[in-house]
Amino acid sequence: MTTQEQYKKRVKELLSNGTVKMVIGYKAGTTADRRRPLFVRTPEEADKLVLDSACIANLSGYLVTEGLLSDEKRVGIFLRPDGIRSINILAAEAQLNADQIVILGFDIVGQEVTALSGEKATDFSELIGSIKEKAPEAPQNPQLEQLEKMTPKERFAFWQAEFSRCIKCYACRQACPMCYCRRCIVDSNQPQWVNTSSHTLGNFEWNIVRAFHLSGRCVGCGNCDRACPVNIPLRLINAKMAQEVLGAFDHFSGMSETQEPVLASFKKDDSETFIL
């Protein structure tokens, strides 16, 4: 039995015995290589589920939809390891109760989809631990390496060119499971921190703020990158910040539902070589 069939059966089981009220998964999209989210409420609807190597979006953002979890019923969701990490972060930041989430874990290796065993976020802690172990040795993105070699002036020019294309559609924010603020700082106009017009300066500031707010929280799912209509390499900047936080504070986001957020905690002996 393929992973897809195995999980279809499992979803039907979960829904028919009332364990969950809904399962969030994937269905076929408008083109052969695209998948779109599917919200399954009845066992019959489960037949529409698709699980293959094109199921790359991180669906965890749908869990913080207003009112979804407020009835304290459970919800099932298809997640890859990065998605499981975002569940941990959302739980650590008190955005959801991890006990209400039934995880249908899977991973994509090449074109193959494999099932991950476990149901609660805590069942995957060993897996996430091993991802953290491998993180420092993971092959570096060649573009990131190239950027690090540049002078600040060249880097500024690089990002200026990238951000000048930004149209401030905020698709990156909408697609990100970590961007759940009811009122985003860029929507506030008293005071207006960031210019709303899509000039390069405001775009620059918006992208810096976004990256800063995701530092130590981003799991690198790539939702923002894929959502960007003008192809700004947002993942580069997020990956760089994740590296920094891992190097400076040994913080790997989404390890557990009790992990303290990196910028809301401190150690008395944190490094401070740059402070005069």
């Binding site: 600040p152 990002w159 200026q160 210019n195 703020v209 800063f212 900047i237 910028l263 005069l276």
Partner: protein
């Protein structure tokens, strides 16, 4: 001959240490560069990275951030939180190409009036040598220019 370049520098300081240090510099009759505009805040923990971006957006050539030494915070640990935030924010500025010589951080206690005056002088001197932050000012001009079709 044109006027020599006088940098505009904004300093975000905490009221309990660095601002008191600035007071001490004043009462001790220490002279320091008049280029620095001080913004007093309750604690370094109150200093959001947005403040730094806003100062640059409004045309500052340099930004200083200063507060109590670790362990001296009036609110016990505001400066520890601030330190983490600055570490991350600094890395981000570096990666996006904003020269770190223009954004400086320091600990200055209420007893360090002389350190305050020296710090203001040395940073003003450094930034005067770097010249105006043209790269950023170019962006500001673009934003403020009247719309063209």
């Amino acid at each position: 001959m044109s006027e020599p370049f006088e940098p505009n520098i904004v300093a975000f300081v905490c009221t309990y240490c660095t601002y008191a240090g600035a007071d001490l510099a004043g009462t001790s009759r220490l002279k320091y560069a008049p280029n620095v505009r001080i913004v007093r805040l309750p604690c370094t923990g109150r200093i959001s990275p947005m403040f730094i971006l806003k100062a640059l957006q409004k045309g500052a050539d340099g930004v200083l951030v200063s507060g109590c030494h670790p362990g001296d915070c009036h609110f016990t640990h505001g400066n520890y939180h601030a330190r983490r935030r600055w570490t991350v924010f600094r890395a981000l500025l570096e990666f996006t190409g904003i020269p770190l010589e223009r954004v400086k951080f320091s600990w200055i206690s209420a007893a360090e009036g002389a350190k305050f005056a020296d710090f203001m002088n040395s940073v003003t001197e450094d930034i005067r040598k770097l010249g105006p932050f043209d790269q950023y000012k170019e962006l500001i001009r673009e934003t403020e220019a009247p719309a063209t079709l």
